[in-house]
C-alpha cells in the first residue's frame, strides 16, 4: 500500500486554510463567514493529524479532538451572534454592521 505523502496532506491543509482566510475576508454573508472560519479550523486539524500520523506521535490526534469541541463551541457562539444581528437588523450581511464605523 502506498501511503499518501505528508507533503500532499500539508499542501491540502494549506489550500483549505487559505480558502477559509480568503472567504472570511471577501464574503459578505455572516453565515458564510462562519463556515469559512470552520474551514480554517479544520485545515489546522488536518495539519495536526497529518504530523501525528507520519511520525507516530499521539498528541496531534488528541489535539484534534479538543479542536473539534472548540470549533463546535465557537459555532454556537457565532450562530447566537448572527441570530442577534438578524433580530435587530433583519439581515445577515456584514454591510449592515456599520453603526460604529466613523
Amino acid at each position: 500500500m502506498t501511503a499518501i505523502p505528508l507533503g500532499h496532506l500539508l499542501g491540502l491543509a494549506a489550500i483549505l486554510f487559505t480558502m477559509g482566510l480568503v472567504g472570511v475576508l471577501t464574503r459578505r454573508n455572516l453565515l458564510l463567514i462562519l463556515m469559512s472560519i470552520e474551514v480554517m479550523l479544520n485545515a489546522v486539524n488536518l495539519t495536526f493529524v497529518a504530523f501525528s500520523r507520519y511520525n507516530g506521535w499521539t498528541e496531534g490526534h488528541v489535539l484534534a479532538f479538543f479542536l473539534i469541541a472548540i470549533a463546535a463551541a465557537e459555532a454556537a457562539v457565532g450562530l447566537a451572534l448572527v441570530l442577534s444581528v438578524f433580530r435587530l437588523k433583519n439581515a445577515t450581511y456584514v454591510d449592515e454592521l456599520r453603526l460604529l464605523k466613523r
Binding site: P5, L6, G7, H8, L10, F17, G20, L21, V24, L30, I33, I37, M40, L41, A43, V44, T47, F48, F51, Y54, N55, W57, E59, G60, V62, L63, F66, L67, I70, A73, E74, V77, G78, A80, L81, V82, S84, V85, R87, L88, K89, L97, L99, L100, K101
Partner: protein, 547 residues
C-alpha cells in the same frame, strides 16, 4: 494527581465561581434585583483566588515542583503573579457591574458567570506551559468575552461590536493554531520545554518553517493585544461593548495576552535568547511597537467619545508594552546565553490595568436607564456635580498619561529604564519616540480632565448610579494607583521576581538563594529540574516530505 490539583487552586476557585453562578441562577426568584447578589459573590471568589495565589507564593509550595498535569500547566511565581493580576481585574469588574448592568436592562446572572469564566480562561492562559493549554484557555477567555461584548442584546451597537470582535478573534485563533501546528510538527511536542529544546537543535533547512510558525503565532498575539496592523477591531469593540465589559477587556485581555506572549517568547520560541528565534523577532516587535504607539496616539487625539479615545489609548499602551517585551536581561540562574524578560512589563501592566479599571468604572457610574455619558461634552462639569466620580476619572487619566506620583509614571519610568539597559542603549531611538508619544498622549488625557473640572455643565439632567460596590471598586483602584505610585519598590520587586521565573518549573524563590559562592552547583541542580519532564523523541524534520 492531588498535587496537580492543589497547584491549580486559584484557577479552580474561579471556575467554581462561574459554574456555581450559572447553575444556581435559574433557581433564584424572578426579577433582576436578586441578581445583584452575584456581583459581590463573584468578586469575593476572585479575591479568594488572589489570596490562594498569594499564599502559594508565600509558602513556597511551588518551589518543590511548579509544573502540573504532565508539564501542561505551572504554578511558578510568574504564573502566580499574573493569576493574581487577572483575578484582581475580574474582582473589580464584578464589583463595578451589578448596578450598571441593571440600568442597562441586562442585569442577568449569566453576566457574572461569563466574567468569571473569562477570568478563569485568562488565569489558565498565563499558567499554560503547553500549546494545548494555551490555546484552550485562550478560547475559553475569548468566547466568554464575545458573549460579554454582545451582552446588551437589544442594542445594535453592542451586538455589532460582538460580531466584529468574534469574526476577527476567530481568524486570529485559527492563525495561532496554524502556527502551533507547525511548531508541533517541527518539535514533536506540545509543551514549551519540548518546543524550546527542538528549536535549539533545529537544522538550517527547517528555519523557513520555524520562521513561518513563529510569525503566525506572533500575529495572533499582536491581534489579541490590538497592535497595528491588527488593531482595527479594538475601537469598535470597545465603543459598542457595555462600559464595564470594555474595562474588563481593556485591562484583563491585555494582561493575559502579554503574560502569555512573554512566556511563549522566552520559554518556548526563544532558544536561549532573543537571537535564537530563526527570525528577527526583536526587530519585528520593536518596529511594530513604534508604529502601534504612534498610530494609537495620533488617532486618539481626534476622538470625541471617551470610550473610543480610551480604545485608541489602549492601542498606544500595547505599543509601549510591546517595546518592553524585547527588553531582556540575562537569566539570573542559567547564566549568559539565556535571556529572561525584566520586571517592567508585569509592573507596567499593574498600573495600566488599575487605571483602565478606574476610568471605565467612573464612566460606568454615569448612566441611567440604558443611557450613558461618554462624550467629552457630556462629561463637562462632572467634577463639581459628582466630585468622587470626577476625581477617580481624572486620576485614571493622569495615571494613563504617566504623571507623577501615580503608578502610571513609575510604570513608564521602569519600562524606559529597562529598554535603555539593553545592549548599550541599542533601543535609544525607540525610547525617544516612546517619550515623544507620551507627551502627545498627555494632551488627550488632560483634555478629559479639563472638561471634568473647567468647563461649564451642560443643561442635560444626569444621574449618578450610586452603589456601595461600585464606589468600592472605584475607590480601591484609585487608592491602589496612588499607594503603589508613592511606594513602587515592593511591587517592582515582585514583578521582577515573577518575570525572572518565566522559564518552566524554575521558581524564582530558588533563584534568590542561589547567588552565593556555591551557586554554580545549585544552579545546575535547578536547571536540571525542568529537563526531567518526559523527553520527547528527537523529531526528524517532519515538514520536509519524504518521498
Amino acid at each position: 494527581m492531588l498535587h496537580d490539583l492543589a497547584l491549580t487552586t486559584p484557577l479552580l476557585i474561579l471556575l467554581f465561581a462561574g459554574l456555581f453562578t450559572l447553575v444556581v441562577d435559574p433557581f433564584l426568584p424572578a426579577g433582576d434585583q436578586s441578581r445583584r447578589f452575584w456581583g459581590p459573590f463573584n468578586a469575593a471568589m476572585s479575591a479568594a483566588a488572589i489570596v490562594a495565589a498569594a499564599l502559594m507564593w508565600k509558602s513556597g509550595h511551588h518551589e518543590m515542583q511548579t509544573v502540573a498535569f504532565g508539564a501542561h500547566l505551572s504554578a511558578s511565581t510568574y504564573s502566580l503573579f499574573f493569576v493574581s493580576l487577572v483575578s484582581l481585574v475580574g474582582m473589580m469588574t464584578h464589583l463595578s457591574s451589578p448596578k450598571y448592568m441593571l440600568e442597562q436592562g441586562v442585569g442577568y446572572g449569566e453576566y457574572f458567570a461569563m466574567v468569571s469564566f473569562a477570568t478563569f480562561g485568562m488565569a489558565t492562559m498565563v499558567s499554560a506551559e503547553s500549546v494545548i493549554t494555551l490555546f484552550i484557555s485562550l478560547e475559553i477567555m475569548s468566547m466568554a468575552i464575545y458573549v460579554l461584548v454582545a451582552f446588551k442584546r437589544t442594542s445594535i451597537a453592542s451586538v455589532e461590536a460582538g460580531m466584529k470582535y468574534f469574526i476577527m478573534g476567530s481568524v486570529a485563533s485559527a492563525l495561532l493554531l496554524y502556527g502551533m501546528a507547525f511548531l508541533y510538527g517541527l518539535s514533536g511536542g506540545t509543551t514549551f520545554v519540548e518546543i524550546q529544546r527542538a528549536l535549539v537543535t533545529a537544522k538550517p533547512d527547517q528555519a523557513v518553517w520555524l520562521g513561518l510558525a513563529v510569525l503566525l503565532t506572533l500575529a495572533a498575539f499582536l491581534f489579541k493585544v490590538a497592535a497595528v496592523p491588527f488593531h482595527m477591531w479594538a475601537p469598535d469593540a470597545y465603543e459598542g461593548a457595555p462600559t464595564t465589559v470594555t474595562g474588563f477587556m481593556a485591562s484583563g485581555v491585555k494582561v493575559a495576552a502579554f503574560g502569555a506572549l512573554l512566556k511563549i517568547l522566552y520559554a518556548a520560541l526563544a532558544g536561549q535568547g532573543m537571537d535564537d528565534l530563526h527570525l528577527p523577532v526583536a526587530a519585528i516587535l520593536s518596529t511594530v511597537a513604534l508604529v502601534t504607539m504612534t498610530v494609537g496616539n495620533l488617532l486618539a487625539l481626534v476622538q470625541k467619545n471617551v470610550k473610543r479615545m480610551l480604545a485608541y489609548s489602549a492601542i498606544a499602551h500595547a505599543g509601549y508594552l510591546l517595546l518592553g517585551t524585547v527588553a531582556s536581561t540575562v537569566d539570573p540562574v542559567l547564566g549568559a546565553p539565556y535571556a529572561v524578560p525584566g520586571g517592567a512589563v508585569p509592573f507596567y501592566l499593574i498600573g495600566y490595568s488599575l487605571a483602565s479599571l478606574a476610568g471605565f468604572a467612573a464612566l460606568a457610574s454615569l448612566g441611567k436607564n440604558g443611557e450613558e455619558l461618554t462624550t467629552e461634552h457630556q462629561l463637562a462639569g462632572l467634577g463639581r456635580r459628582y466630585p468622587f466620580a470626577g476625581a477617580v476619572l481624572s486620576l485614571a487619566m493622569l495615571s494613563l498619561a504617566g504623571v507623577p506620583p501615580t503608578l502610571g509614571f513609575f510604570g513608564k519610568l521602569e519600562l524606559l529604564r529597562e529598554v535603555l539597559a539593553v545592549d548599550n542603549a541599542k533601543y535609544l531611538p525607540h525610547a525617544i519616540i516612546l517619550v515623544l508619544n507620551s507627551v502627545v498622549s498627555a494632551y488627550y488625557y488632560l483634555r478629559v480632565t479639563v472638561y471634568v473640572y473647567m468647563r461649564p455643565e451642560p443643561k442635560v439632567e444626569r444621574e449618578y448610579v450610586t452603589e456601595p460596590s461600585l464606589t468600592w471598586a472605584m475607590g480601591l483602584a484609585a487608592a491602589a494607583i496612588l499607594a503603589i505610585g508613592v511606594m513602587p519598590g515592593k511591587a517592582i520587586n515582585v514583578a521582577t521576581l515573577s518575570a525572572h521565573a518565566v522559564r518552566t518549573g524554575i521558581a524564582t524563590k530558588n533563584l534568590v538563594h542561589l547567588r552565593g559562592p556555591d551557586a554554580p552547583a545549585k544552579v545546575a541542580e535547578v536547571a536540571a529540574a525542568p529537563q526531567e519532564a518526559p523527553a520527547a523523541p528527537v523529531a526528524e524534520p517532519a515538514v520536509i516530505p519524504q518521498p
